[in-house]
């Protein structure tokens, strides 16, 4: 990157519209559009908004590389009313869908991520794969408990009966030391031996009924 491009990117870094670029660099509209298009080809710019929506250009000095989907992308995709701001860039290069995202979210032990997994149960297509991955990570109890919580509030796809028949003795936590406080979750706690950390108010956030 030459010094001139560097200085220009340094001045423009952040969110811009065509008008702000025109003002900052004292350019005509066409020159600003040409410049943005050139920077986009060099991977310094990504655009959001099209059609009637105003275009916003995100400009960075470093290149914005193409991404593969990760846990946050999957959770946000299926929770339109309950978005999560990623605190690190999670990407999976290979097969990745709701089945894998549920397991990853449970392992973070973060409240909002676990809450967001509830919506994903309606999109599970491969129950054997979910069961195998959960067994490998030793978290099938938690998956089963979250499935039963999801069933109380949403329409979800049916889990094959053979995966529900397992009996458990040892208690496993979704989040350490969080206990079941809502009476309606007690049967789920009893069945899966997993304390449910959610309150009723938490669930209304993801059902979209504020």
């Amino acid at each position: 990157m030459n010094q001139k491009t560097y200085e220009m990117l340094y001045a423009l870094e952040g969110l811009q519209t065509v008008e702000t670029v025109m003002n900052k660099l004292n350019l005509t509209r066409q020159s600003a559009i040409n410049l943005l298009s050139q920077l986009k080809r060099q991977q310094h710019v990504t655009v959001s908004g099209q059609g009637k929506i105003k275009r916003i250009y995100r400009i960075t000095i470093r290149k914005q590389l193409p991404r593969d989907l990760g846990m946050f992308d999957i959770l946000n995709k299926y929770n339109p009313d309950f978005q999560i701001n990623p605190w690190f860039d999670h990407q999976v290069h290979g097969k990745y869908g709701p089945e894998e995202a549920i397991i990853d979210a449970i392992q973070t032990k973060k409240f909002r991520l676990i809450l967001a997994t509830l919506r994903l149960f309606n999109y599970i297509k491969d129950w054997p794969s979910l069961y195998q991955s959960a067994k490998k990570e030793d978290c099938w109890q938690q998956v089963g408990a979250l499935y039963d919580v999801a069933r109380l509030f949403f329409k979800v796809r049916k889990m094959p009966e053979k995966y529900r028949k397992v009996r458990f003795k040892k208690i496993k936590y979704l989040i350490e030391k969080y206990r079941t406080k809502e009476i309606m979750f007690r049967p789920i706690h009893q069945k899966w031996k997993v304390p449910i950390p959610f309150r009723e108010g938490d669930l209304t956030k993801i059902t979209g009924m504020w």
């Binding site: 340094y10 991977q43 000095i61 470093r62 999670h90 999976v92 290069h93 990745y96």
Partner: protein, 229 residues
């Protein structure tokens, strides 16, 4: 040299031959490629949490034709006397080089902050999982000061120049932590790097003073050697 696309394909290939899940931390030029700071790198620097993970990784790269190479001429002699020096692997066709560390990078520990505050996590899901965690830019600068190879200083300059939001306090805090936990080199390495860096970019004076202050305290607290009679 290896490009970002080449690196992703290489990791995918390695992931497909693993017999167990492996987790590692990227911190060199390869980590900078994940950020988009640069397009290609000579070496892939990885840090493993334990020897078992590194052993499995080495088994797979040997299958891909990588052979152990000598670290001499790449790292300074003083650092190569350390127990935690890297194992290095290279292919005949010179398609990049692996520098593989375990637990420590010479004397610098894999700190709890390094493990928690990662910038990115790239998973290569094949039969088994290869998880590559990319360290924060502040950690990259510290570790590049420590490894101190040819081009490492240029990489530091690139990071600082391309990032408006570089957290100097985070860097200083981490240097102090490393120093408190037995890394006797880190203070001197970072101080030397900052002295050189000040010629090219603006380094806020208060952070430099913090580092000098720490260094002075260290010298004051150091036990004096008794003169021989």
């Amino acid at each position: 040299m290896i490009s970002q696309q080449g690196q992703l394909e290489l990791f995918r290939l390695i992931g497909s031959s693993l017999n167990q899940d492996v987790t590692c931390y990227a911190f060199g030029g390869n980590a900078m490629m994940f950020y988009g700071y640069k397009g290609e790198t000579k070496d892939v620097d990885l840090l493993f949490e334990d020897e078992e993970n590194r052993r499995e990784f080495i088994r797979v790269i040997k299958l891909l034709g990588y052979e152990e190479s000598s670290p001499f001429k790449i790292y300074i002699e003083e650092k190569l006397r350390e127990k935690h020096r890297p194992l290095m692997f290279k292919r005949q066709d010179d398609n990049g080089r692996f520098d593989l560390f375990v637990k420590k990078i010479f004397r610098t520990l894999l700190s709890p902050r390094m493990q928690e505050d990662v910038y990115a996590e790239h998973e290569f899901n094949e039969k088994n999982k290869l998880k590559v965690k990319v360290l924060r830019k502040e950690q990259l600068v510290i570790l590049k000061s420590v490894t101190d190879r040819q081009n490492d200083f240029d990489d530091i300059k690139t990071i600082i120049k391309q990032d408006k939001h570089f957290d100097w306090q985070y860097l200083i805090d981490e240097v102090f932590w490393q120093h408190r936990h037995g890394d006797t080199w880190v203070l001197l390495d970072v101080e030397e790097m900052l002295k050189e860096l000040k010629k090219y970019v603006l380094v806020p004076e208060k952070f430099v003073r913090q580092l000098y202050g720490m260094n002075r305290d260290k010298l004051r607290l150091a036990p004096k050697k008794k003169a021989k009679n």
